[in-house]
């Protein structure tokens, strides 16, 4: 075992080196995108690669704010897709991007465990005593949207936890630790195996725009422009619609 382990490690390293070399021959587009775009952008990336043979799209997903900080700190990337215009502004104000385009919109739903055991049908039902709710913290976009929707509904809600991002709030529902969470429709849909999304009218007052921009210091500027244009094609918009996004 002791003698075999280094050999196995070496094999892994060699394999990794080979795959990296194979990819280096292609033209590469690096896209930093908000975590909520994960599934849809993976699919759009495949379509883009098919439409542009020889091009390789690499995604890095994360919280919009963190990605924006990476960009202004000089991370080499070609395209930035954010989950909120405010986050995009921090990048464009720093001179790292031109004029962004809104390519999708997202709306909040109440995520409940599958079958909705607590029978939650409205925002007001979340404020009932004994109902445990997870929300995003007010500092992150989904939390800001939730606050807007709650004040539109006139509901004073005391969540048990204020999560750092929407996926963390959703995970608390999946694990059964809370009875409900305020998340984006797309997140609820992506987790349809475990959770159901309850629509509520007040979410209309807290719609989130998703802007995308080709970055000024893009190593592959033409690839960046091509990808931004591709996201707005009917083909890509269909992928986004399937994931639960609305058209801008």
């Amino acid at each position: 075992m002791r003698t075999r382990l280094p050999a196995a490690l070496a094999a892994v390293l060699i394999a990794a080196g080979c795959s990296a070399q194979a990819a280096a021959g292609d033209e590469k587009v690096t896209v930093l995108a908000a975590a909520s775009l994960t599934g849809s952008f993976d699919r759009i990336g495949e379509l883009f690669e098919k439409a542009n043979p020889g091009t390789d799209v690499v995604f890095s997903y994360g919280g919009s704010t963190g990605l924006a900080q990476q960009i202004t700190a000089g991370a080499p990337a070609d395209v930035f897709a954010a989950a909120s215009p405010a986050t995009m502004t921090t990048v464009t104000d720093a001179g790292d991007g031109g004029t962004p385009v809104t390519f999708a919109r997202n709306q909040l739903v109440i995520a409940v465990p599958k079958g909705n055991p607590e029978g939650i049908t409205s925002l007001a039902a979340l404020a009932k005593p004994g109902v445990k709710v997870a929300m995003c913290a007010a500092q992150v976009p989904c939390g800001a949207a939730a606050q807007k929707a709650l004040s539109a509904a006139g509901v004073a809600l005391k969540p048990v936890t204020e999560e750092q991002d929407v996926r963390a709030a959703l995970a608390k529902v999946k694990l059964g630790e809370v009875d409900a969470a305020l998340v984006y429709r797309t997140d609820a849909r992506a987790a349809a195996a475990d959770v159901a999304g309850v629509e509520f009218p007040e979410s209309a007052s807290a719609i989130n725009d998703y802007p995308i921009v080709a970055l000024t210091k893009a190593p592959n500027r033409s690839g960046a422009d091509a990808f931004v244009a591709f996201v707005q094609t009917p083909q890509a918009q269909q992928v986004l619609a399937d994931a639960g996004f609305q058209r801008p």
Partner: protein, 240 residues
């Protein structure tokens, strides 16, 4: 040291006083110090006996147990938090029973923060103490036993004073790790100001909105922990 210098240079010194007096800062700091200290106490209570078992006894599967002790070091803390939820959550292995029989729920409570921190920080204590025990000469304990001391007396009067520096070092590492804990805490205990929002959580959320606020919070955490650790160190050196 350079990243620390980066923080100091970038710090918004002019607005520092007013940022420090924001109510959330003190609450998070107090909670951090309280939970890290309680977590260290919990680690001492559970970790010292565990380290003794690993160093002084032989039992089947001891090597496996020793390997398992280090698991929290390897595990990404967020995964540790999920693992804790799977055990102590409402649907968890023990959580449901705890809730039904004792009415105790740990997730989203301050006790949950302590548990998450203790889980992540425990290996630092166990490894230090076990190392100290192995370095300490077991013949002293044997001599104490021949003079009629029971196992507990020998441990308390002979072993513990011998390994005190190791225990202290382990406790300091444990406390420091607990103080900086982020992933397991936010996953298991959630984030609620005043109840489960420790300084690292406050820093992370401040970072989403206001870099300056995040830097101020980080500096407060660093300054307080350095002060406390330096103070404790002097005290030990003074007594030894």
């Amino acid at each position: 040291m350079l990243p620390l210098a980066g923080l100091l240079i970038r710090a918004p010194w002019s607005t520092l006083p007013q940022r420090l007096t924001e109510p959330g800062v003190l609450a998070a700091l107090r909670l951090s110090l309280l939970t890290a200290t309680l977590a260290t106490a919990l680690c001492l209570l559970a970790g010292v006996p565990l380290a003794w078992l690993l160093a002084r006894t032989t039992f089947p599967g001891r090597r496996l147990v020793r390997a398992l002790v280090t698991v929290p070091l390897v595990l990404p803390p967020v995964v540790g938090g999920v693992a804790l939820l799977l055990v102590f959550g409402r649907r968890g292995l023990l959580g449901g029973w705890l809730d039904a029989t004792l009415g105790v729920t740990l997730p989203f409570t301050t006790a949950g923060v302590v548990l998450a921190e203790a889980f992540v920080a425990m290996p630092f204590l166990v490894i230090s103490v076990e190392g100290a025990l192995r370095a300490a000469d077991a013949r002293y304990e044997e001599a104490a036993a021949t003079l009629g001391a029971g196992r507990w007396t020998a441990f308390r009067r002979v072993t513990l004073p011998l390994i005190a520096p190791g225990v202290a070092a382990g406790a300091v590492l444990c406390w420091a790790r607990a103080l900086g804990e982020f992933g397991a805490t936010i996953t298991f205990a959630g984030n609620f100001p005043g109840r489960t929002q420790t300084m690292p959580l406050a820093v992370y959320l401040a970072l989403e909105q206001d870099l300056d606020a995040a830097i101020v919070l980080s500096l407060v955490l660093l300054a307080v922990s350095v002060l406390i650790l330096a103070g404790l160190r002097d005290r030990w050196l003074g007594t030894s």
